[in-house]
């Protein structure tokens, strides 16, 4: 009596897919695997038409506009096969690798995140539709098939989406790094003497970046004098002007003196009109004069310089 009740309970649990009863669980797992194999076999068998169906849906949804139909079809084939492998083995490693490579190929061409997510979801839907069609007659079986299909398919969608976004972030990060380094080169002119030529638009984000870069260079190169040349900067606003003042002050706190050169007449007037506190700033008309002054401050003798040691004392 008890035994029978137990068995009935086990069966019920197995059907409800609660995994508490060990016997029910292993049976269930086997059932799942078998179903998954059946599912994969079916989807492999109909590979050609499903793939075409998918490609058709992609162009209908006007996704991947930057790629030709042939390209879409060939990528679709590969995605399909990788998808099947992932479904079959439950291992997403190969798919991950493939998704990364795919992302590397298509990101430079301007494919967007929503497109990648879109096509993966379309494939998931196309396959689900075909499963509906196949198991229409057998509702119970359809449910169980979907039970194993859905989590696997969702995991795949997440994997591809995440791989794409990660790759994209990596590219963006790389580009930012490159831009950062390009836009604010800190050059060493002599031992302990740095030059920071600034060209182009100086906004507050770049000014902040510049500060960080300069202070890092002061520490790394053990600089005592820095020349910031803004000949190539057309205008600055109050925020940026204050940023510059702060940069000079922060450099001073690290033990380096700063000379600002190449202020255009517009910028000079702006700074005065904005009432920026320029007391701490040492300015010299042009870069040449700035470098001469810097060499003097750093203790290098140059034409017309007095005793360098005495003046380097701040």
């Amino acid at each position: 009596m008890d035994q029978e009740a137990d068995r009935a309970a086990a069966e019920e649990e197995s059907e409800q897919r609660t995994d508490e009863q060990p016997g029910g669980r292993s049976e269930d797992r086997e059932g799942d695997d078998a179903l998954l194999q059946e599912l994969v076999a079916y989807l492999r068998e109909h590979r050609t038409e499903l793939r075409e169906e998918w490609a058709r849906r992609i162009s209908e949804a006007e996704l991947l506009g930057v790629m030709s139909d042939e390209e879409i079809f060939s990528e679709a084939t590969e995605v399909y096969d990788n998808y099947m492998d992932a479904l079959e083995t439950g291992s997403i490693e190969n798919l991950q690798t493939y998704a990364r490579e795919l992302s590397e190929r298509i990101i430079p061409r301007g494919v967007e995140t929503h497109e990648v997510l879109g096509i993966v979801l379309l494939l998931r839907d196309a396959l689900a539709r075909s499963l509906f069609a196949r198991y229409q007659q057998d509702r119970d079986r359809l449910n169980r098939i979907l039970d194993s299909y859905e989590p696997a398919a969702n995991r795949i969608a997440v994997t591809v989406g995440v791989s794409f976004v990660e790759e994209r972030e990596r590219v963006i990060h790389e580009q930012q790094e490159a831009m950062r380094e390009l836009s604010t080169p800190v050059l060493q002119l002599r031992d302990r003497l740095l030059i920071l030529p600034i060209i182009g638009v100086l906004d507050s984000a770049r000014a902040r970046q510049l500060t960080e870069q300069l202070l890092g260079a002061i520490r790394d190169k053990r600089a005592t004098v820095v020349v910031i040349d803004i000949t190539g900067v057309a205008t600055i606003d109050r925020t940026v002007a204050n940023n510059l003042v702060q940069t000079v002050e922060a450099s001073r706190l690290m033990g380096a003196r700063t000379i600002l050169t190449g202020l255009s007449s517009e910028i000079a007037q702006t700074l005065v009109d904005l009432d920026v506190d320029l007391g701490m700033m040492k300015t010299v008309g042009d870069l040449q004069g700035g470098i001469e002054e810097a060499e003097r401050l750093a203790g290098y003798r140059s034409a017309g310089a007095g005793d360098p040691a005495g003046d380097a004392a701040t």
């Binding site: 033990g255 380096a256 003196r257 007391g279």
Partner: protein
């Protein structure tokens, strides 16, 4: 206390070893003011390289130390302010111009030598 104050010739060298509590900051200020007079020091070096953060309280205290020491006849040089710390400090809207800084201990001592010799200009 997490500050070691050593005497070297005419100078006092205060090395801050770790982040300071507010009361330790005040203690440092008091002790330096005391010892400058007692030991007839002409210069103070405060090494803050171990500090990852200098908040406005500490910045204010450093400034107070500099001004106090000046009244007691000594010049102060701060050493080892990290880039991030420097960026944060200039945003306190605190007049830091009394603070003199140097990159390392050698530079600080050289700077003090010049300043206490009395032949240096008092620039920015």
């Amino acid at each position: 206390m997490s500050v070691a104050i050593n005497r070297q010739g005419d100078y006092l060298i205060a090395s801050i070893q770790s982040d300071l509590s507010d009361s330790e900051v005040l203690e440092l200020r008091r002790e330096l003011a005391e010892r400058v007079g007692a030991e007839r020091s002409r210069g103070i070096v405060i090494d803050v390289a171990a500090l990852d953060v200098i908040d406005s309280f500490v910045a204010r205290a450093l400034r107070a130390i500099v001004l106090t020491a000046r009244l007691r006849g000594a010049v102060t040089v701060i050493v080892g302010i990290q880039p991030d710390v420097a960026i944060a400090m200039v945003q306190f809207r605190l007049n830091l111009s009394p603070l003199r800084a140097a990159l390392d201990l050698d530079a600080a001592v050289a700077l003090l030598d010049r300043l206490t010799r009395g032949d240096a200009e008092d620039g920015g």
